[in-house]
C-alpha cells in the first residue's frame, strides 16, 4: 500500500563501518519514516552510537548509502552542512559550550548558518527554553545548571535549528536518577508533537510509551526489530533475551 502521508526520512542501506581493521558496523539496513520514533538498544560496544553518528556524519561510513530527506549523505563538506541543518543531536555528555551563556548557546547555530538575525534568534531561543521549562536560566552559564537542566538546554539548542530529525545518544545515562524524569518528559512531549526521533536509550518506560519500533543491535549488526511490547515482552533472538535479562537483573 502506498500511503502519501508516509514518507521515509532516513534510509540506510547496506551500511558498513570500520575502525582500522575492526568492523564496527556491518550491513546496517533501516528506514525511518517521517514522524516515526525508533529506540535503539543493545549491549555496550554494539555500535549504537556509531550508527546514529554516521547519520549526521560525525563519523564517516565506508560502504552502503544513507539518505536523509532525499539527500545522500557523503563526506563532502557542503553536503554535510546541508544534512546537519536537518538533523539535531543530543549527547550523553550534553556538550554545551561552557564559555557562553545558555542563551548564546542557543542562538549560535541559527545565527551562523541560517542567517537569522540576533533578535529573531533570541525570540526563537526563548520560545524553546520555555518549552523545556528553563527560560529563567537564560543568562546563566552551563556549569551553573544541574545535569538535567543542561540536557534540556541541549535539547532546546538542537530544536533551535528546526530539525526534521532528532538523534539522541543515551541522553539520560549521565544523569542522577532524580533528573531523568524531567528530560524524558521533554522528549515525550517532543514525540507527541510528531518529531521524528532515533533514540539510543535503555529507558524501557520511555520506549514503551513513545517508540514505534525497537531496534536491537549487537556486535555491529541489527539483530532484531520489533514493536516495544513485543520486544520487551517476547524477544525472539537469544542475544536479545540475554541482554534484557541482564538489563532487568540490575
Amino acid at each position: 500500500m502506498l500511503d502519501a502521508s508516509v514518507r521515509p526520512l532516513v534510509e540506510i542501506t547496506g551500511m558498513c563501518k570500520w575502525y582500522g581493521q575492526f568492523s564496527a558496523l556491518h550491513d546496517i539496513n533501516m528506514t525511518v519514516n517521517e514522524g516515526e520514533k525508533v529506540v535503539v538498544c543493545g549491549p555496550s560496544g554494539s555500535g549504537k552510537s556509531t550508527m546514529i553518528r554516521c547519520i549526521n556524519q560525525l563519523e564517516a561510513h565506508q560502504k552502503g548509502t544513507i539518505m536523509v530527506d532525499g539527500i545522500e549523505v557523503t563526506p563532502d563538506m557542503r553536503n554535510i552542512a546541508e544534512i546537519r541543518r536537518e538533523v539535531g543531536m543530543v549527547f550523553q555528555s550534553f556538550n554545551l559550550f561552557p564559555h557562553m551563556t545558555i542563551l548564546d548557546n542557543l542562538i549560535l547555530g541559527p545565527m551562523r548558518n541560517r542567517g537569522v538575525s540576533k533578535k529573531d534568534a533570541t525570540d526563537l531561543a526563548m520560545h524553546y527554553l520555555e518549552r523545556v521549562h528553563i527560560a529563567q536560566q537564560a543568562g546563566k552559564y552551563p556549569p551553573q545548571l544541574s545535569g538535567g537542566q543542561q540536557q534540556r538546554v541541549a535539547i532546546a539548542r538542537s530544536l533551535c535549528m528546526k530539525p526534521k530529525l532528532m538523534l539522541f545518544d543515551e541522553p539520560t545515562s549521565a544523569l542522577d536518577p532524580e533528573m531523568i524524569a524531567g528530560v524524558l518528559d521533554v522528549m515525550i512531549e517532543l514525540a507527541e508533537e510528531g518529531m521524528t526521533m532515533i533514540c539510543v536509550t535503555h529507558e524501557m518506560g520511555f520506549a514503551r510509551k513513545v517508540a514505534d519500533r525497537v531496534v536491537f543491535m549487537d556486535e555491529g549488526e541489527i539483530i532484531e526489530v520489533a514493536g516495544p511490547e513485543e520486544f520487551f515482552g517476547n524477544p525472539q533472538s537469544d542475544r536479545a533475551q540475554l541482554f534484557l535479562s541482564q538489563l532487568l537483573g540490575h
Partner: protein
C-alpha cells in the same frame, strides 16, 4: 560560645628571623662582590655620559629629543608589538594545522616547528638574514620605497613603524622575530586546542557550524583561556629575544647599546642602564598580562 562573635583574624604573613638571616647573607655577598670588583678594576663610575644618550638637547628645535637609547627602546617596543601580533597569527594558524587531519597541513606545520626549535637562534637569524632580508625584500621592491613619499613619511607611520628610511630593516626584524617565536606559540596553541574536550567539537558540528565557526566560536575561545599564562610568558620571552636581531643590524635597544658602549667606553653603566630598561619594559608587560588574566577569570565568574 556566642554564635555572632566575629571570626578570628587570619594569621598574617610575616618575615621570620630566618628570612632576615637569608636576606642579610645575600646583601653581604653583593656588597663583598662590589668591593672586589672595585678593587680589581679600579673603575671610575660615570653615569652622566651614558644618561646623555637617553635624551639630549636639540639646539635647533630648542627642545629635548630622544637620543639613541630611547630611540632603541621605542624600536624594541615596536618590534615587540608587531612581532607579537604576527607571531600570534602564525602560531594560531600553524597550531591549528598541527591538529588538523589534513596530512599536507600537518607536514608543513610540523616541519616549521621542528626547523625553528632545533636550530640555535643565532644561526637561524643569520640564515634568515642572508635569504630573506638580502634576497626576498629587494625582490619584493621594499628597498625601492621612497622614504620621502607622503605615504610613509607621516607621524602615524613613524609612530607605528619608525623612521621610513629604516623600513625594510625594521620589517626584517619583525619577520625574523615573529617566525622564530611563532614556532613556540604554535606548540602552545596546539596544546590549547587539544585540551578542549572532543565533545565540544561534536556539539559544535552537530548544530551545523562550519569548520571555521567551530574553531572561532567554540574551540579557540576555550583554548585561549587555558593557554593565557604560557602565552603571556612567551610574549615576554619575545621581548627579551628581540635583542638578538641586533646582530643583523636592526637598530633596537641592544644594537644602540653596543654603539653607546663603544663611543662612551662606559661599558658597565651602559649595560646596567639597558638592563634596567628591559626590566621595566618586560615587567610592565608581565603586570599587564597578570591583570588581563585576572579579568578573564572574573568574566568566567
Amino acid at each position: 560560645m556566642d554564635r555572632n562573635s566575629p571570626p578570628p583574624a587570619p594569621p598574617r604573613k610575616r618575615l621570620a628571623v630566618s628570612d632576615f638571616v637569608i636576606f642579610g647573607a645575600v646583601a653581604a655577598l653583593v656588597i663583598y662582590a662590589g668591593y672586589q670588583v672595585k678593587d680589581v678594576l679600579v673603575y671610575k663610575w660615570d653615569w652622566s655620559r651614558v644618561l646623555d644618550f637617553l635624551i639630549r638637547w636639540d639646539p635647533e628645535r630648542q627642545e629635548y629629543v630622544a637620543n639613541l637609547l630611547l630611540i632603541g627602546l621605542f624600536t624594541t617596543l615596536r618590534l615587540a608589538v608587531w612581532g607579537t601580533i604576527l607571531a600570534t597569527v602564525i602560531g594560531v594558524l600553524m597550531g591549528y594545522w598541527r591538529t588538523s587531519n589534513n596530512l599536507t597541513l600537518k607536514i608543513i606545520s610540523r616541519t616549521y616547528v621542528e626547523l625553528i626549535r632545533n636550530i640555535p637562534p643565532l644561526v637561524f637569524i643569520f640564515i634568515f638574514y642572508f635569504f630573506v632580508s638580502s634576497q626576498l625584500f629587494p625582490a619584493m621592491g621594499l628597498d625601492d620605497v621612497n622614504p620621502d613619499s607622503a605615504m610613509v613619511d607621516n607621524p602615524v607611520f613613524r609612530i607605528m613603524f619608525g623612521r621610513p628610511e629604516l623600513l625594510s630593516n625594521f620589517l626584517a626584524g619583525v619577520l625574523c622575530l615573529a617566525l622564530f617565536e611563532g614556532a613556540y606559540i604554535t606548540e602552545i596553541v596546539r596544546a590549547g586546542i587539544q585540551s578542549v574536550p572532543k565533545g565540544q567539537w561534536e556539539g559544535a558540528r552537530a548544530i551545523g557550524l562550519s569548520p571555521f565557526n567551530v574553531l572561532r566560536d567554540v574551540i579557540l575561545p576555550q583554548a585561549l583561556r587555558k593557554i593565557l599564562p604560557p602565552l603571556a610568558g612567551q610574549f615576554i620571552t619575545l621581548i627579551k629575544d628581540s635583542a638578538i636581531v641586533s646582530l643583523i643590524s636592526i637598530q633596537e635597544l641592544t644594537f644602540m647599546a653596543t654603539e653607546v658602549a663603544a663611543t662612551t667606553t662606559k661599558v658597565f653603566e651602559t649595560w646596567i642602564l639597558v638592563g634596567a630598561m628591559y626590566f621595566a619594559l618586560c615587567y610592565s608587560f608581565a603586570l599587564l598580562f597578570d591583570w588581563l588574566e585576572r579579568r578573564a577569570a572574573r568574566i568566567r565568574r
